[in-house]
Amino acid sequence: MDFWLTDDQVGLQDGIKTFLDGRFPLEVTAAREETGQVIDPGGWRELAEMGVFSLLRDGFDMRASVVAFEQLGRALVPGPVVTTFLAAAYLDGAADGSQIIGHLEPEHEFTVLEHGDQIDAALLFDDGRLSLIPATAISTRALGRPLDALSPVSTVDINIEIDPSNDTLAQGPAAEQAYMRGVLLTAAMQVGLSAAALDLANDYAKNREQFGRPIGSFQAVKHLLAEMMTKAEVARCAVHAAACALDGASNDPAVRPVSVAKTIAGDAALFCGKTGIQVHGGMGFTWEVHAQRYWKRAVVLDNSFGNADHHATAVANTLVTRKERN
């Protein structure tokens, strides 16, 4: 057993981080909020050139992939990176960045779709089947004020005609596997987001002074930061453990660890997001300071591939052995 990043994984992490720091600094990303096109097509293509979407095609495993996606989460890269990654297993255009593949997640009687105006198609997981729905088949109505300005949303008419002979990408175990990958990569982004929100708040706590000293010297503040760090670290471990399970590098089957990761990382991201705002005081409530962006994206990610409550319930169901009541 060696539950530690390998040198290769550290290399990958550093490479992607350097790329993102140069190409996706948060000021630049945030400036796109005003453009109406939050996904920068050039940037998207460069992500593909970095190999972000084609990691599995290029011989990397899920452990490498969660390391990479943690960095995407940290940088708040806008756009459906997870579903484009999943689609890349089937579509060259997703792998090479010429197509952007979104995610249809029906819930109750309605569906709220992200990036409806920029995607070429969307994945739909339904009934043990993974389908690819072309954007032309999805009728959307844009919602004017998205929670996260970097995740524009529209409503979707739920009655989409699916043509199984054309639209099906995978069924059964393969579809199940793809779904678990999506859950886990989302969790990896939540870990990166948590760590980034912590870094921002930690810097602020060291520099902002009140009562003649840095606010980070007050326990009421520093304890919040300690809690953020604890949640982020624990979540990272859960994500890495689930990645090992999906790669077969663990004695545990993957279903439970994947739900564990999404539960813990989802809670961590929401906690770090809101606490980061609190540490910034009034500045935290401004549009300008990035603290708010972390919390908003945390809400978006929590609602993707099943929220923390959903996965916590799934974990609970593994605790007991009994027949479901009818």
Binding site: M1, D2, F3, W4, L5, T6, Q9, R63, N202, A205, K206, R213, P214, G216, S217, F218, Q219, K222, H223, L225, A226, E227, M229, T230, K231, E233, V234, A235, C237, A238, H240, A241, A243, C244, A249, S250, N251, D252, R256, P257, S259, V260, A261, T263, I264, D267, A308, D309, H311, A312, T313, A314, V315, A316, N317, T318, L319, V320, T321, R325
Partner: protein, 403 residues
């Protein structure tokens, strides 16, 4: 990153498992909590058995009588002993996990010869005389005084919360040997024979109802200067060796037990019925317990990361404090879920009727000590924020002179 165990590690596990299966047949049930002679006999004879089979001091270096196992084998050992229901380390805790490891790093050869083997064999029980009435979280302000008199130190003062003091043979003592220097600099670490004249021990009843810890009153207790470990006034540094040990693997058995408790609580919920539904039909309960269960898995992963770090660097880094903070907080939440679920059955520590409720209430009570002992939650948060996140200390926490 690989969670699979190597063939050697699996061989170690299977041998250990086979051994446990044979010996555990002859280990009797745990004695009553209040029967101290029986508890001592139970804990020490298990330690003796471990020693004879070569499992004592699993992570101690072989040159000091330990097994010299790798951190991963240590983890497997804790996992298998817990899984098989073997006795817990019990009152050998301080000797095996604090005093012994400190002696290995800091003691001279005579001291090592005198003390290490008896700890491994279960012949000597140790206790930890660190905390005082006025020195808890602020341990370095301790004032139990030791004066040099010829070849001896003469100790007068008071210690408190000393677990197992009334059954211990030796005590790792922190005493003040200089009052004219900053508080961290005037402390020495001594081996104190608990049979020495002048030690008055008064057991304190804990809220669990039994006497797990004691007050110790020391009146001119003589300890040979040759029992000092490390230099005079260098005891704080020596003590820190011990405390970093405590935050390493000390909670692994506990945590595995908690995982079991969590599964049992879920199972219990399926049998508690009201009208047509069981408690487990309540999705709120399932979410809450699912979260705790998920977090336990995540903490198990964190433990493995800590172990892997220790294998690579020889040290448990940031993960130790993070683990302590998260795990002890989780114990409170799990305990509260149990109280809510069990309702009026929470009013009894004995099982109520057919339902195995008692362990959950006992566990709820015990959880209350966990955010206090071995550094409170607030102190852990100070450590994480100051040492790991680099935040400034509070002005009042700077190194004042001892008064």
């Amino acid at each position: 990153m690989d969670l699979r165990y190597t063939d050697e590690e699996q061989d170690f596990r299977h041998q250990l498992r086979a051994w446990l299966e044979t010996v555990l047949r002859d280990v009797g049930p745990e004695p009553d909590r209040h029967d101290w002679p029986a508890r001592r006999a139970y804990d020490t004879s298990w330690q003796r058995q471990l020693f004879e089979a070569g499992y004592a001091g699993i992570n101690w270096p072989a040159e000091f009588g330990g097994r010299g196992a790798t951190p991963t084998e240590h983890l497997i050992f804790l996992e298998e002993t817990e899984r098989s229901g073997a006795p817990y380390v019990g009152m050998n805790f301080v000797g095996l996990l604090h005093a012994g490891p400190t002696l290995i790093v800091e003691a001279d050869d005579t001291q090592k010869d005198a003390h290490l083997a008896p700890i491994l064999k279960g012949d000597h029980i140790w206790c930890q005389g660190f905390s005082e009435p006025n020195a808890g979280s602020d341990l370095a302000s301790l004032s139990c005084r030791a004066f040099r008199d010829g070849d001896d130190y003469v100790i007068t003062g008071q210690k408190i919360w000393t677990s197992f003091a009334h059954v211990a043979d030796y005590c790792e003592m922190l005493v003040r040997t200089d009052t004219d220097v900053p508080k961290h600099q005037g402390i020495s670490w001594l081996i104190m024979d608990m049979q020495s004249p002048g030690i008055d021990i008064r057991p304190l009843r804990t809220m669990e109802g039994s006497a797990e810890f004691c007050e110790m009153f020391l009146d001119e207790v003589r300890v040979p200067a040759s029992n000092r470990v490390g230099d005079e006034n260098d005891g704080w540094r020596v003590a820190m060796t011990t405390l970093s040990f405590e935050r390493g693997t000390a909670f692994v058995s506990e945590m595995l037990q908690t995982m079991e408790l969590c599964r049992e609580l879920a199972q219990l919920a399926t049998t508690i019925t009201s009208k047509a539904a069981t408690a487990w039909d309540d999705v709120g309960l399932r979410r809450d317990l699912g979260r705790v269960s998920a977090e336990l898995d995540a903490l198990w992963a964190l433990t493995k990361r800590n172990i892997s770090e220790a294998t690579r660097t020889g040290l448990v880094g940031a993960g130790g404090s993070v683990f302590k903070l998260a795990y002890t907080d989780l114990r409170h939440r799990l305990g509260d879920i149990a109280l809510h679920l069990l309702g009026r059955a929470s009013l009894s520590i004995d099982d109520v009727g057919e339902l195995a409720t008692g362990a959950h209430i006992q566990g709820r009570i015990h959880g209350l000590s966990m955010t206090i002992a071995a550094g409170t939650t607030q102190v852990q948060k100070n450590i994480i924020s100051e040492r790991l996140l680099g935040l400034p200390k509070e002005p009042s926490m700077t190194r004042a002179k001892h008064t």
